[in-house]
Amino acid sequence: MSIAALVPLPVVLPLLGAGFTLLFAGRVRLQNAVTVGTLTAVLAIGIVLLVGVDSGGTQVVAVGGWQLPFGIALVVDRLSALMLVVSTIVTLGVLLYAVGQEMADTSRETPVSVFNPAYLILCAGVANAFIAGDLFNLYVGFEMLLAASYVLLTLGATADRIRVGATYIVISLVSSLVFLVAIALVYAATGTVNMAQLSQRLDQLPADVQLILHIALLLGFGIKAAVFPLSFWLPDSYPTAPAPVTAVFAGLLTKVGIYAIIRTETVIFIASNLRVPLLVVAGLTMIVGILGAIAQTEIKRMLSFTLVSHIGYLLFGVAMGTVAGLAAALFYTVHHIIVQTALFLAVGLVEQRAGTTSTRRLGGLALLSPLLAVLFFVPGLNFSGIPPFSGFIGKVALFQAGAEGGDWLNYALIAAGALTSLLTLYVIGRTWNLAFWRDPDQVEEPTPELVDEMAHLRESRSRQQALRRRAEKHAGEQGRPVPEAPIASAIDTVPQQAAPARLPLTMVLPTAAMVAVSVALTVFAGPLWALSTRAAENLHNPGAYAEQVLGPDAVEAPDNGSGQVIEDAQRGGSDG
C-alpha cells in the first residue's frame, strides 16, 4: 500500500470521530476516548506521511478518481506534512489538557457534549486546509475550521463570550467572503482553481490583473493570519474563550492563514511580486503588535498581542522569497505554534490556580507554585528569543536570511525584528516579575484567595522557623548537630487550615509535555532546520510542484494567450 492512501485520512478520521462523539453525547468518558484515539491516529498518520514525503516525494491524490486537473486534488508535500504533524501535536496536547480540566472542574460551566465534536471538526478543517491542492478546497477547509471555531469560542454562550464571539464571527465571515470573491475572480481569469494549474496560468495574465487577484487573495488570508492592519479583532476575541480553546486558536488558526499566504506567494503567484509591501506590513505587524502588548495588564491579552506581533516574523520570512527566508519562516512557524500554545496553557494553569490572569491581582506565584513558575518561565524565555532556545535560532536564521538579501528594507526589518524581540523580552519579563516574582504585599488589587493562601504559607513558614530556632537552641545546649528528621516531622504536624487549591495533575502533565516539546525543538533544531530547508527548496521550485501534481506531460505551453487558456479550460472542463 502506497502512503498516498493515507493522504485523505487526517480529514476523514476526525470527521468520523466527530460523528461518533455526537452519537455518544452525554457519555463524556467515551467521547474523550474517541477524540484522543482519533487524534493519536492522525498524529501517527502525519508522522508516516512526513517521513514518506520527505524521502519519497510529494504525494498526490485525485479524490474520487477524477482525472487530475478537473478533479479535486489533495497534495501533501514537505510543508503540508510538517504542518500536519505540528498541528496534530498541538491539538492532541491541548485536548489532553482540556480533558484534564474537565475532570478537575467540579463545576461545569460549559456543555461538554458539544466540545469534542466541534474540536474534531476544527482538526479536520485544519488538516483539509493543509492538504488542499486547489483554492476552493482550501476555502472549504477554512470554513470548516472557522465554523467549528465559532462554536468553540462561544462555548457556554455566556454574555461575555457572545459579545466577543460576535466580533470574531463577523470578521471571519468578511474574510471568508473576500476569499470567495477572490476565488471567483481567479476562476474567471484563468478557468481553474487548481493550484498547480494556477501557477502556470496566472503569470500569462496582464500584470495589473495579476496584482488585483494577488491582493484580493492576500486580503482574505491576511485577516485570518492577523496581519497588522487586519489584526485588531484578535486580541479582543481570543482571551475570553476557555483556556484550551484560546491555546489551540492562538497556536493554529493564524498559522493556517500564514500557510495560505506561503502557498499564495510561492506556488500560485510566481511572477507577481509584492515583496516591498509585504515587508512593510510585516514590520508594522511586529512593532504595533508588541506595543499593544506593553499596554496590557491581562496576561492572556498580552499574549494575544505578542501573537500578532510574532506573525510579523513569519511574514518577514515569507516576503523575502528566498530559500533561506522561507526556511527560516517555516522553522519559526513550527517554533511559534508550539511555544505560543505552551504559554497559553501555562496561563490557563495560572488562571486555574489563582482565579485571575490580571497582573494587577497576581503576585508571588513562584513561591506558591514553583512548578507553575517553571512551566511559564521556560516557554517565556524561548518565546523572547533567549539563546539557546529555538526562538533564538529562528530569529537568527531570519536575520541571516534578511542580511543575505542586503537592501536597506531588509535591514530595517531586521532592526524592527530585533526591537520586537527585546520588547517581547521586556513584556514577558515584566509579567514574570509582577505575577510570579514580586512580594504579594505589593499587589494592587489582590484576590482574597491569594491573600488567604499567602497568610497560610507565611504562618506555616514562621512556625517552621520557630521550630527550627527551638531545635537549634536545644541542639546548641546539648552540643550536637541539628537533626533534620524531627523538624520535618514537626512541620508535618502543623495544622492544615484551609488547604490551598492544588494544580490538577491532569492539566499539569499536558502543559509539561507541551513545554517539553518546545524544548525538544531546541534540541532537535538541526534536523528540523534541515527539513525546513528542504521544504523551502520544494516551495521555491513551483514548476516541480505543478509537475508533481499534474504529471510531467501536463505542463502547458507558455506561449498561449490568456483567452486561449480560458477556452481550453472550459473545453477541458466538459471532459471531466
Partner: protein, 217 residues
Amino acid sequence: MTPPFVMLLTMGVLFACGAYLMLDRSLTRVLLGFLLFGNGANILIVLTGGRAGRPPITDGKDLSTDGMSDPLPHALVLTAIVITFAMTAFLLALIYRSWRLVRRENIDDDLEDIRVAVTKGRGSQEEAGTGVDQEDTEFGDEAENPVPGAPDVDRDGTPAERDSALDHEAALDDEAEPAHAAGGADGPAPEPGAAPEPGVGRDSDSASGSQERGESL
C-alpha cells in the same frame, strides 16, 4: 465572453448594499449585509460559468463556450450557498442568544480596551471608541438591569416595540403600549426617535444621543 450588464449591475448593488449594512453595529443588519454580500459573490461565481441558457451537460458534440455552460462554477456556487446558509443559521442563533441575555444585539466596544485607555491616558475615552454611552457597554449590568431607552432601540426599524420589550415595567403595567408601538413600526420609514418612546422622559440624555446617531445613519 461578456457577462450580461443586468447581472453585473445586480452584483454591484448587492456588494454595495451588503458592505454598507455590514458596517453597522446592529448584528441583524450585519447578518442582512452578509446575506447580500454573499449573494453578490454567488452571482459573481455563476457569471464565470459562461453565458446564460447553455446546457451544463451536453451530448459532447459542441464543447466550445458557445455550446455549453461551464459546470464547475455551479458546483462551487452550490457549496458556497450551503456554507452561507449554515453561517446564517449560526449568526441568527447568536443574535437570538445575545438578545435573550442582554436585550440587545449590538457589537460593543472591547471592555479591556476601554479599561486600558481609561487607566493609561487622560481623556483618551474618545480614542477607545467610546462615546456617550461608555457605561452601557458593561454587559453584565445590563443583563440584570436593562437600561430604559437604551441607545440601540431605534436603529433596527422597530423602535418602540423593542423599547417596550426593554422596559419590563412599561410592558407589564400598560397593555396598550405594545399595540401603540406596533402602530409606530408600521410606518414606511419610522423617523428615529419620532415614535413614542417610554424612555424619552426618563433619560433624555441617552434618548437624544440615540436620535443623533439614528439621523446620522
